[in-house]
């Protein structure tokens, strides 16, 4: 139903973005492969890489299991209590860690669980001496659970809420006890999505960079990504970085392949959507159990946020904001974030319109269909080749041409764009598809096209998803430390890099203040982006 010109344009845009992404990622990987290949292959399986690989997988596995096992009672409790005052806020709180820059989250966790944190001072008073360490494996696990427990809980809750309302009516009418309800209804529903959720969390934890950088460190607690960074930044040992990068690509490929075998975990808009009614769990025992589960999760999630806010407010915020270092970093960060946001929007629009054009063909040849499939896969390429690996490739590529920092802002923006692309595609593609099925025939029959179609038909409807996508991409870029870590220097300082360098030079007070500012900006962007999507109130 597209005009011929629209179809041609769609294909052309798609081709352009496809070759752009392929070139950017391809050059990075080619640089890795060609740079002193002999040296690298010998370094692939040394005791050192083997240990790092083991630790990467071990901490990811543990984080996954802990996140899901702890999330399950929380999700069950929230599903069983579909209406209590403040429920909506508990669910919103569970979305917050996703919108918070990882580095800021780490700071908040240190504030609570660190040496001077309230948990340890409490335990100290009880006579125990520093039993919880925020550094090393326990800290990494704690942080991964902080970020992934709410994710798992939301996805599990969505799966539980997707169960037909009749199930709960029937189960109570048949007189099922809580254990039977769990065994016969809740667990089967959860079991179907747990493999997908586990795959997702394992992937996030296996490629976790910032948390491990801040909380891990030392050869005993280093993941592949951090090891890559350290071998370039501290030891300047490119063959080792290359060997580790190749290992990383192999691991992510294997995980992605594993995930593809399981059904997607999707929270669509089911979370907090329908007003389900539950008639089970009226006994005092289940009430107490649910209250404890929800309360503990809430406290666990809210404390680090409170710590960020309190510690941040203790800093001299005005002096920080007006300092030259902050202004310079903010300028750099926003330039990169806005560039990355716009790039993400245009790239995803190009990919979507090209796929649309192929779908619109009467008889798409195998070439066209393949093109469409590759376009779809291309948007997730960054999952396969993580930011640090991309950065490493380009770092090696550009080094002969002088100071890498000169090219860094562009590289960071493009890498941020690639990082945001899979998520932005998930927002934009369905929105645009729905819009098209509603309007394409009508617009075609009325002969509306070109600018007037864009202005009168498309923009009014798509403005909101576009804003969501843009603010998400911007927040991601503003809070990202992974892409900038390799290039960060006095010449290139973004806000997260500034926080990180203040933290490493033990100017914690400044770091706390900056963290509060950056966290607030990112959360505001997230809230702004999701403002249109109000969760339905419970009746």
């Amino acid at each position: 139903m597209l005009t011929r010109a629209e179809r041609r344009r769609g294909i052309a845009y798609g081709f352009l973005s496809l070759s752009g992404i392929a070139l950017f990622v391809g050059i990075a990987v080619a640089a890795l492969l060609s740079w002193d290949a002999g040296g690298a292959s010998g370094r692939l399986f040394t005791a050192y890489t083997w240990r790092i690989l083991q630790f990467t997988l071990w901490q990811a596995g543990l984080s996954t299991v802990l996140s899901i096992v702890l999330a399950l009672p929380v999700a069950l409790a929230l599903a069983r209590r579909p209406s209590f005052p403040g429920r909506i806020w508990v669910i919103r709180l569970m979305a917050l860690p996703m919108g918070l820059p990882v580095l800021i989250g780490a700071l908040g966790l240190i504030g609570i669980w660190g040496r001077q944190g309230i948990v340890n001072s409490l335990l100290l008073k009880l006579g125990l001496e520093q039993p919880v360490s925020i550094y090393g494996l326990s800290g990494i696990l704690l942080a991964h659970v902080f970020f992934n427990l709410p994710l798992a809980a939301r996805l599990l809750l969505a799966a539980l809420e997707r169960q037909p309302a009749e199930y709960w009516l029937l189960s109570s009418s048949l007189g099922m006890r809580p254990l039977s309800v769990f065994r016969l209804i809740e667990w089967p529903a959860a079991r179907r999505v747990i493999p997908g959720i586990a795959g997702l969390i394992f992937m996030l934890c296996a490629t976790s960079f910032t948390l491990v950088l801040v909380l891990g460190g030392g050869p005993a607690a280093t993941t592949l990504e951090v090891a890559i960074y350290q071998s370039l930044r501290f030891d300047f040992d490119p063959p080792r970085a290359i060997a580790l990068s190749l290992l990383q690509i192999g691991i992510t490929a294997a995980i992605l392949f594993g995930i593809a075998l399981f059904p997607n975990a999707d929270d669509a808009d089911a979370v907090a959507g329908r007003a389900t009614r539950r008639f089970d769990g009226r006994t005092i025992g289940t009430r107490i159990w649910d209250a404890i589960a929800i309360l503990l999760a809430t406290i666990f999630l809210i404390l680090p946020f409170a710590s960020i806010a309190l510690a941040g407010l203790r800093a001299n915020l005005w002096r920080l904001i007006s300092s030259a270092a902050f202004l310079q970093a903010a300028w750099t960060s926003f330039t990169i974030a806005i560039t990355a946001g716009l790039l993400t929007i245009f790239t995803s629009l190009a990919i979507i319109s090209a796929r649309e054009a192929v779908a619109d063909m009467k008889r798409p040849g195998s070439g066209a269909r393949g093109f469409s499939a590759v376009l779809g896969g291309m948007s997730s390429l960054v999952l396969l080749v993580p930011p640090v690996v991309l950065g490493t490739g380009w770092f090696l590529m550009l080094r002969p041409f002088g100071d890498v920092a000169r090219f860094a802002p562009v590289l960071v923006a493009i890498i941020n764009m690639l990082m945001a692309l899979p998520f932005v595609m998930r927002v934009l593609a369905p929105a645009i598809e729905t819009h098209r099925t509603r309007t394409t025939r009508l617009s075609a029959s009325l002969g509306i096209s070109g600018i007037s179609k864009l202005w009168r038909i498309d923009l009014p409807v798509l403005a909101k998803p576009l804003l969501t996508a843009f603010s998400f991409a911007m927040a991601l870029s503003l809070g990202d430390l992974g892409a900038v870590a390799l290039f960060g220097s006095n010449d290139l300082t973004t806000l997260p890099w500034l926080v990180y360098s203040r933290l490493s030079s033990y100017r914690t007070n400044d770091a706390d203040g900056l963290a509060l500012i950056l966290g607030t900006i990112c959360l505001l962007l997230t809230v702004l982006g999701t403002a249109g999507k109000r969760e339905a109130k419970h009746g």
Binding site: P164, A165, E166, Y167, L169, L170, S171, S172, S173, L174, G175, M176, R177, L179, S180, L184, I185, P188, A189, R277, F279, R282, G539
Partner: protein
């Protein structure tokens, strides 16, 4: 004989809507519950099943005051329009849940399950999953569960609405057969005047949360003096 279902001066407010029901549904008979969308049919059913509790008034089933009783403590079986079966459990488990909600089943129970399946025309379907059945077969399985529960009251919320007309006819026949065998009290919510004619001894017409009419079926179908009812009957 104890009266089937009694709603005695029941009042309930849900949001902006308020409901007032005062009626006696005779035991051992089939009563059709009709009315426009949003008139309160499902609320009526929920009051009987225990998913809603009245603000005032009493609910009696088979002579017992069940006003404050949990749904599981009421002597009723339920059949909805859909999702009557847990999709991840086979028919044997789905029906067995009607006998014991933790699926602790004796040899006699197992036999009863197989017999009930045979009775509704699903002989040998014990191991089948609901997803492999047609819509009509799924509703038959729901009837089989109602059979093994042996409750004096059967509440149905548009049980045939999702089926095509030919199937509705045969399902109605099955329902009537089972009703005659067990002598249970049946309350069926329906949108279809033909179903009222085919199934019901009595009919109830609800509008805006009030009972406008409760009469034997013949009279119900002949009435033309209530505009909302006339509209309902003309389809």
């Amino acid at each position: 004989m104890a009266d089937g279902i009694v709603l005695e001066k029941v009042e309930l407010k849900l949001g902006a809507k308020d409901f007032r029901f005062d009626c006696v549904l005779p035991a051992g008979a089939v009563t059709a519950l009709t009315g426009p969308s949003g008139s309160g049919k499902t609320t009526f059913l929920n009051l009987a099943a225990g998913f809603e509790t009245p603000d005032s008034g009493r609910v009696l089933i088979a002579g017992d005051d069940v006003t404050q009783a949990h749904p599981s403590e009421r002597p009723v079986s339920l059949v909805f329009q859909g999702n009557n079966l847990f999709a991840h459990l086979d028919l044997f488990a789905n029906i067995g849940l009607g006998i014991n909600p933790s699926l602790k089943l004796s040899a006699d129970d197992r036999k009863a399950i197989s017999q009930s399946l045979e009775r509704v025309g699903l002989f040998g379907f014990e191991k089948r999953m609901p997803g492999t059945l047609s819509g009509g077969e799924r509703q038959r399985a729901a009837f089989a569960r109602a059979l093994v529960r042996k409750k004096p009251v059967l509440l149905m919320d548009e049980p045939f609405a999702a089926l095509d007309p030919g199937l509705r006819l045969s399902m109605a026949g099955l329902l009537l057969d089972l009703h005659r065998e067990t002598g249970n009290t049946v309350l069926i919510v329906t949108h279809d005047p033909d179903e009222v004619r085919r199934l019901a001894d009595h009919a109830l017409f609800i509008d805006h949360g009030r009972i406008l009419l409760q009469v034997p079926t013949d009279e119900f179908l002949a009435r033309r003096d209530i505009p909302a009812l006339a509209e309902f009957l003309s389809g």
